[in-house]
């Protein structure tokens, strides 16, 4: 593993993660469908997870990988709550377009 990392270089992992992260960010920014926004956030989190693993290997340290599990668990919990909210939004509004959520403003 270490060799591969050395061959590819940690920087490339970082660029890749950042790229993925940015894709997630842009997804969040540009998509109006709440589910897709969720998914974009998941992309962001997973980009980070990827980087964790990469760093973990880079440092020869297992803690990073353990952390990934934490983060995945947390993400799962988060999404569970998020989807629950989404469901009740959908029940009340009949739509999951986040542009419809404009009652609170001013």
């Amino acid at each position: 593993m270490g060799n591969i990392l050395n061959e590819i270089g940690i920087e490339n992992y970082i660029f890749l993660s950042v790229l993925l992260f940015c894709i997630g960010v842009f997804g969040v920014l540009y998509r109006r469908n709440a589910i897709i926004v969720f998914m974009s956030i998941e992309i962001m989190l997973n980009a980070v997870n990827l980087l964790f693993v990469a760093f973990s290997t880079y440092h020869q340290d297992a803690e990073g990988q353990v952390f990934v599990f934490f983060s995945m668990a947390v993400a799962a919990a988060e999404v569970a709550v998020g989807l629950a909210i989404l469901v009740s939004v959908f029940r009340n509004l009949g739509s999951i377009d986040i542009d419809n959520l404009k009652n609170l403003k001013g």
């Binding site: 960010v25 969040v28 920014l29 109006r32 986040i98 542009d99 959520l101 404009k102 009652n103 609170l104 403003k105 001013g106």
Partner: protein, 627 residues
């Protein structure tokens, strides 16, 4: 002992005031008046005692009652100074005051607030005494303002009439203009000399003059004189005095003729050592005095209200006194103050008697022929008129002649102007007499039927004053100058005796002739031609200007009162709201921003996220990319 007596002298009228304020309403009118009178008489008698004592040992008597105000560099006592000058003033203030109180018992008998009248009169006498006996400028100032207050109260005595109240207010305010001047004068002296005790001031002023403080002294003297112009009704602050005639006649006699208005002369005489060192100011005083004398006399020529005539006459005579002061002849001024007090009080009281007889009528056009109905009044007034006109040998002749003589020696122009004023005086005074007492009665039938001589309480003071007006000149006859000697400690070595030479006799003659010319002119116009002044709107041309008092009141209104009121309105309606708006505008700005900001907070998650990301980018950029 002396101290207690002096305190009694001071407080006696005050006791009368307190009595009349608190119990006046409960006791009978006569009693309240009697108490009022008696308390003043007590003061008079004590003044006489002090006078006698002073004549014996010639020593001024000074003491301090208690510490009063303390300012940084000096302490002020509430002190009393009884010297020649103050006792002289005390004598005629309390003397004439007693007479006028006596007179008022009868004159005011029909007024529902008689006890208040006496209360105010007593208070006035109290303050006048304070003014006179104060041992420093500030105690004098208490009296100075106090008499102004009483003047205010008494002019507005008939408070239901707002015109009278206006007159009272005007008097108070114009006096206060002068008072400010006086106060500033006091400040200048106090700053430079660290004292305002009369006894210390003399040496201090001289010392300061030697060390180059003449400039300050001049300003001080000028400011003090401004104070005097207020109280003594000189140009430019004289217009309150004629209006002050709104008060009851005894008030006019006491306050606005005999005593209060002479306070300015008293003060200048008190401070003679200062004025002697400031010849420029003396010139100003002399000129102002002369002009006042002339202008007031001119206005007096055409007035129809009997009291207004006397009021202008008072202003004019005060002008003459200031002329004397300006020429450094303090003793002459004092002399004239005293004789003037006699005859002018008599004239006012006489006019009061007339008004009393006519139930309040003051317009001379509606009088006439009162000689027979009111003989005592007529004769006492006649004597006083002769005195004021300067007819030999009445008191006014001697004093006025001294003034003119001094003027002649010092400055011919002033002499000429003053003489013209004297001629005018003779003219308008006789005009007054002729219109009032001679020829037939011009009032209503009803008044005519009720014409009567006034009761004895009114006539007795008249007679006494008339006698004094006749012989009062004796105190300072040329050659037998008692007054000059008496005042010598005050005016140390400053007066020069006029040696009676041919010039002097000639001047006396000229003055006498002038007075007679005035009388003759009046006679020819008002007896011979039987002229009765026209109604107000028929008067035209220059006489209209004179009749309307040279429009000075209007001028003041237009240049001072109106602008200030306009300014006040402007401030109130424009500037205040504008200032207020400035403060509010801070709030408005915030509110405006708030409204704008609310538009940004539009509820769109996309926008929120967008700003979030922008924020992140900005921070990261600033921290790591921008140098």
């Amino acid at each position: 002992m002396e101290m207690n007596l002096a305190i009694l002298l001071l407080l006696s009228p005050f006791v009368g005031f307190l009595f009349n304020v608190f119990f006046g309403k409960k006791v009978s009118k006569g009693f309240s008046g009697t108490i009022g009178t008696l308390t003043v008489v007590v003061s008079f008698l004590l003044s006489v005692c002090f006078f006698a004592q002073l004549n014996q040992n010639g020593k001024a008597f000074e003491f301090s009652l208690f510490d009063w105000i303390q300012v940084g560099n000096f302490k002020l006592n509430f002190g009393i100074l009884l010297d020649q000058l103050s006792i002289l003033w005390l004598l005629f203030v309390t003397g004439i005051g007693s007479l006028i109180h006596l007179y008022s018992i009868s004159y005011m008998h029909d007024d529902e607030n008689m006890h208040k009248f006496f209360a105010y009169l007593n208070l006035f006498v109290f303050f006048m005494i304070t003014l006179v006996v104060g041992s420093n400028l500030l105690v004098m100032f208490i009296g100075w303002e106090g008499v102004g207050l009483c003047s205010y109260l008494l002019i507005g005595f008939w408070y239901k009439n707002q015109d009278y109240n206006d007159a009272a207010k005007k008097a108070f305010i114009m006096n206060r203009v002068g008072d400010l001047g006086l106060l500033i004068g006091i400040f200048i002296l106090a700053i430079n000399l660290d004292t305002i005790n009369f006894t210390d001031l003399n040496a201090g002023v001289v010392a300061l003059n030697k060390t180059g403080g003449n400039q300050a002294l001049q300003w001080a003297a000028l400011c003090l004189f401004i104070g005097a112009t207020g109280k003594s009704a000189q140009i430019p602050l004289y217009t309150w005095l004629p209006d002050a005639m709104a008060g009851p006649t005894p008030v006019s006699a006491l306050i606005h003729a005999a005593t209060m208005v002479t306070a300015g002369i008293f003060m200048v005489t008190r401070m003679n050592f200062l004025f002697d060192l400031t010849p420029n100011v003396q010139h100003v005083i002399a000129i102002i005095g002369t002009i006042t004398a002339l202008v007031a006399a001119a206005i007096g020529l055409l007035q129809n209200d009997i009291k207004k005539v006397l009021a202008y006459s008072t202003v004019s005579q005060l002008g003459l006194m200031f002329l004397a002061l300006g020429l450094g002849a303090y003793n002459v001024a004092v002399f004239h103050v005293i004789t003037h007090a006699f005859f002018k009080a008599c004239l006012f009281l006489g006019s009061g008697s007339v008004i009393h007889g006519l139930h309040g009528e003051q317009d001379m056009r509606k009088m006439g022929g009162l000689r027979k109905a009111m003989p005592i009044t007529f004769w006492t007034m006649m004597i006083s008129t002769l005195a004021i006109a300067g007819i030999f040998p009445f008191a006014g002749f001697w004093s006025k002649d001294e003034i003119l003589m001094t003027a002649f020696h010092e400055n011919k122009t002033l002499w000429i102007v003053a003489s013209i004023a004297s001629i005018m005086t003779a003219f308008y005074m006789f005009r007054l007499m002729y219109l009032t007492f001679f020829r037939e009665f011009r009032g209503t039938e009803e008044q005519k039927n009720h014409l009567h001589e006034s009761p004895s309480l009114i006539t007795i003071p008249l007679v006494i004053l008339a006698v004094l007006a006749t012989i009062g000149g004796a105190i300072n006859l040329p050659g037998s100058t008692w007054l000059n000697h008496y005042l010598e400690p005050i005016l140390a070595g400053k007066h020069e005796e006029h040696h009676l030479g041919s010039t002097e006799y000639m001047l006396m003659g000229i003055a006498l002739v002038g007075a007679i010319i005035g009388i003759v002119l009046a006679y020819s116009k008002y007896i011979k031609q039987a002229f009765v002044p026209k109604t107000d709107n028929e008067i035209v041309g220059f006489s209209k200007t004179i009749y309307n008092k040279f429009y000075v009141d209007e001028l003041y209104t237009a240049t001072i009162v109106k602008p200030i009121n306009a300014l006040s309105n402007f401030f109130r309606t424009t500037l205040e709201p504008a200032l207020s708006k400035v403060v509010f505008s801070f709030g408005s700005v915030a509110y405006g921003l708030s409204s704008q900001g609310r538009k940004l907070q539009n509820g769109n998650i996309g926008l929120y996220l967008f700003v979030f990301v922008i924020g992140i980018c900005a921070i990261i950029t600033y921290l790591f990319i921008a140098q």
